[in-house]
């Protein structure tokens, strides 16, 4: 009975102490959280940013967890409560001793007496005497700091940060558009690739390049991505080059141009113009096709084509020989570079091919010079000649494919130049996909789209024809700018090339006039003052 009363009292004391401890802990944690939040918000403000709202939630969450753990760990025990109650209620170690006797299991008359005496004592005690300090000042300070932190959180970003974020946003938008257009341009190129071109340009590789261009908020990174893509394209274009073949064909074209035969000259023209597609067709037309049973017209056609092909082969071989004139090893084969699609399968050198073609043509011509109707031997030789010409045509077709693939890549690369300007913010529109698509067109813009009309205007000395730099800037934005006000007696006040030259001429004349001795001093003075004023204006 007595022990129950004492226990009830002791637990009440402990609850009261725990309540006070909870208040203390909450006040301290709140203060710490508020100080943290203020410091955190201030740090953001110092760098010009508005404090991010989720940060407050994080601070509040951490504070709640810390407070909960602290309160849990800081719960006072019964012995502590007994010590405090003994001190506050002047129980003279009564509760502490009672707890000690209880825990030791001591029983007897004296202990019961002690318990009764203690129960009687605690029965008359008012727990309100156990004053638990209320940390009002700490709470007020924490409240003030919390409000300050929240106020700091509502402030918007600083002007510099706003501008930077706007720039980043713009860069991100541009980067997204770039990403989209690069991918579209690549898809456009892939779509337009012929079978031959697909052998040279792997679509998967092209898509991989496009994939490396991602969306970024950093304009520099965007530029770097484009630069990397450009490097890839350059490398690929370099791999597509077949300079030796083209050089041989160019020399051959020179020789073909000297031919008396118009078809041969026409072939030479196509080769010189690097129009390999047409050249293949012309070459095909000159093939001395032999049939098993030939009519006299067929024989005449055979002889005619054999003559053309003989002339063509000889001239092309001569041209090829000219290339190696004076060289020790005329049959130098082109050395492919690693990664070069053309170098994957070793090819016969163009000059060798032309030599063989020349040989076959000579044999066929010799055979045709023999009297009588062309026989099987002639047909075999004509077939051989056809085969050699097919090989040459195929090689030219490859060159055509290379050229077209290079052209497509080049169009994409040129588009990337524009894209870089777009990424830098120098231009506001981007037509990467369009330019890639245009590369597949024979020429001109898409139907219904013309060039800018202003570019068709005739030159005007006073308008400077596009040489006038027009600076545009945002109001109150930082950045270099220059503006010049030209004073003039008449006109628009805009200095163009012509009127600057005129002014310079006029100035020289007048300065020469000023130095003349026969001019009165008063007149000179007037002229001098005029130019001084002009210079002053320039100076400002």
């Amino acid at each position: 009975m007595n022990s129950t009363a004492i226990e009830i009292f002791l637990h009440a004391v402990r609850r009261r102490l725990d309540g006070g401890a909870r208040r203390q802990v909450m006040a301290r944690v709140l203060l710490a959280a508020a100080v943290t939040a203020v410091a955190w918000a201030l740090a953001w403000r110092v760098f010009g940013y508005a404090a991010p709202r989720p940060g407050y939630a994080v601070v509040a969450g951490v504070a709640a967890v810390v407070a909960a753990v602290w309160i849990l760990l800081d719960r006072c025990g019964l012995r502590y409560a007994a010590g405090v109650a003994d001190r506050i209620f002047d129980l003279k170690d009564g509760l502490g001793s009672w707890l000690d006797f209880q825990s030791a299991g001591l029983q007897g008359e004296i202990y019961q007496l002690n318990e009764r005496y203690l129960a009687h004592q605690v029965a008359g005690l008012d727990l309100a005497r156990l004053r638990i300090p209320r940390p009002r000042k700490v709470f007020v300070a924490a409240l003030v700091l919390t409000i300050s932190a929240l106020l700091l959180g509502v402030l918007p970003h600083g002007e510099g940060v706003r501008n930077r974020l706007a720039r980043e946003e713009l860069a991100a938008q541009r980067s997204a558009e770039l990403d989209q257009q690069v991918k579209a341009a690549v898809e456009e190129i892939i779509k337009a690739l012929s079978e031959d071109e697909r052998k040279l340009l792997d679509p998967g590789e092209l898509r991989k390049w496009a994939k490396e261009v991602g969306v970024t908020r950093d304009a520099r990174e965007s530029e770097k991505q484009l630069a990397r893509l450009e490097q890839q394209i350059d490398k690929a274009m370099h791999g597509l080059e077949a300079r030796q073949d083209e050089a041989v064909l160019k020399l051959a074209a020179g020789e073909l141009a000297k031919s008396a035969l118009s078809d041969v000259r026409q072939l030479g023209k196509q080769l010189a113009a690097r129009n390999f597609d047409q050249a293949v067709r012309d070459l095909k037309a000159m093939k001395p096709a032999a049939k098993s049973k030939m009519t006299p017209e067929d024989v005449a056609q055979l002889r005619n084509n054999a003559g053309k092909s003989r002339d063509m082969a000889q001239r092309m071989a001569d041209g090829a020989r000219r290339r190696h004139f004076g060289k020790l090893n005329p049959s130098n084969k082109p050395q492919g570079k690693p990664g070069d699609p053309a170098a994957e399968q070793p090819q016969q050198a163009m000059d060798e091919m032309l030599e063989e073609l020349d040989g076959a043509a000579r044999e066929l011509a010799k055979e045709l010079e023999k009297p009588g109707e062309p026989g099987e031997q002639t047909g075999a030789m004509a077939d051989k000649m056809d085969g050699k010409m097919d090989e040459l045509g195929k090689r030219m077709g490859q060159l055509d494919a290379r050229q077209k693939a290079t052209g497509k890549l080049d169009a994409l690369r040129r588009g990337l130049g524009e894209a870089r300007e777009f990424a830098q913010g120098k231009t506001s529109s981007l037509g990467l996909a369009r330019s890639a698509a245009e590369s597949n067109q024979p020429g001109g813009l898409e139907p219904g789209k013309g060039t800018d009309a202003t570019r068709r205007e005739e030159r005007d000395a006073f308008k400077d024809n596009g040489n006038l730099a027009e600076l545009k800037g945002r109001q109150n934005a930082a950045g270099p700018s220059s503006s010049t006000v030209e004073s003039a007696a008449s006109g628009s006040g805009i200095a163009g090339r012509a009127n600057v030259a005129k002014q310079r001429e006029f100035k020289q004349q007048l300065e020469a006039l000023v130095h003349r001795d026969d001019i009165p001093e008063s007149l000179k003075l007037g002229v001098r003052e005029y130019f001084e004023k002009v210079h002053e204006t320039d100076g400002h």
């Binding site: 170690d93 009564g94 001591l106 004296i110 007496l113 005496y117």
Partner: protein, 326 residues
């Protein structure tokens, strides 16, 4: 209905207060000293009273003896006092025609012994009291003679007249339960002393208790339980008087050569129990222990040379030891 112990406790308190009131009839003021003397008596301890002459030390002891209705003995210690003058000696006696050595009891064979100016006797004579105080018996010529119970030695000494005195040895000091300082009374007390002793009628002290009461009080107080926490506190205080203890205060380490003995702890515990009973409690509190610490410990501290030279008061050291014990 009161339990046995409750009635014993009530009787203890009542007897204690009655004795105190009776002594207070003659002794003006000195309430704390009287109470502490009575506490020591209840615990069966001896008391050393220190004070300048004329403060009523001897009067207090004689008054207490009268109030307790106990056999009182007094020895005025002088340099030529011999141990046999204290404990007694064998004398040749003729009985029935036969001569034999018979032990003649000394003045220690009493219940309350007043050892007045104890420090004036030689160490040899002082040491004669050692067995008496601790064992409560006298051994002469190989024969032990027990003393009557209860037995208390209430000694006095003068702290200022040092010429021709012999400081009590440590072993002797340790046997005193308390050493109490008898201070000069204040103005009002002075006036009351004059009023009580200046006329023809002096207060008559009546015996209000006897030896059996004192012994019963001693048994009663030993029933009072002590919580481990309080006991630990007591032990910490005593240990803190030792300079070699790590937790001893700096003052103790610097100025104390030797700290208090376990006998001091026993004295503090017993005295604390008395205070608890007097306060109506049935457990000892730390404040009971603290209250008696100075009386029980001061005379047991042996100061170092620095302590002696700096005039350090043992009471200050005891206070530091108490503070360090919390």
């Amino acid at each position: 209905m009161q339990s046995t112990f409750e009635s014993d406790a009530a009787r203890f308190t009542q007897t204690f207060q009655t004795i105190r009131d009776e002594v207070g009839k003659f002794i003006v003021g000195q309430q704390e000293v009287i109470e502490n003397v009575l506490i020591a008596v209840c615990c069966g301890g001896h008391v050393l009273l220190e004070g300048v002459p004329g403060l009523g030390k001897t009067a207090m002891v004689t008054t207490l003896a009268k109030a307790l209705d106990l056999k009182f003995g007094r020895i005025q210690f002088t340099p030529d006092l011999l141990p046999s003058d204290v404990v007694g000696t064998q004398v040749l006696s003729e009985r029935d025609g036969r001569r034999e050595l018979v032990f003649q009891h000394g003045p220690v064979f009493c219940n309350i012994l007043l050892a007045d100016e104890i420090n004036r006797a030689t160490p040899k004579t002082q040491s004669a009291l050692l067995e008496t105080m601790q064992e409560k018996r006298v051994t002469v010529a190989g024969v032990s003679h027990p003393l009557d119970q209860p037995f208390f030695v209430l000694a006095t000494q003068n702290p200022i007249e040092n010429d021709g005195t012999y400081p009590l040895p440590e072993a002797q000091l340790d046997r005193f339960f308390f050493k109490l300082q008898v201070e000069l009374p204040d103005h009002a007390e002075f006036a009351e002393i004059l009023n009580r002793t200046g006329g023809n009628h002096t207060p008559v002290i009546q015996p209000v208790a006897h030896g059996g009461d004192i012994l019963h009080m001693g048994r009663t107080l030993r029933e009072i339980p002590v919580a481990k926490e309080v006991q630990d506190h007591l032990i910490r205080i005593v240990r803190n008087t030792h300079p070699e203890n790590d937790k001893a205060p700096d003052k103790v380490r610097k100025f104390v050569r030797h700290g208090a003995s376990p006998r001091a702890a026993q004295a503090m515990l017993a005295a604390g129990r008395v205070r608890a009973l007097l306060d109506g409690r049935f457990h000892v509190a730390r404040e009971d222990v603290d209250a008696v610490a100075a009386a029980a410990l001061c005379h047991r501290l042996i100061l170092s040379f620095e302590g002696e030279a700096d005039g350090i008061k043992p009471a200050d050291l005891v206070r530091s030891a108490i503070r360090s014990a919390y």
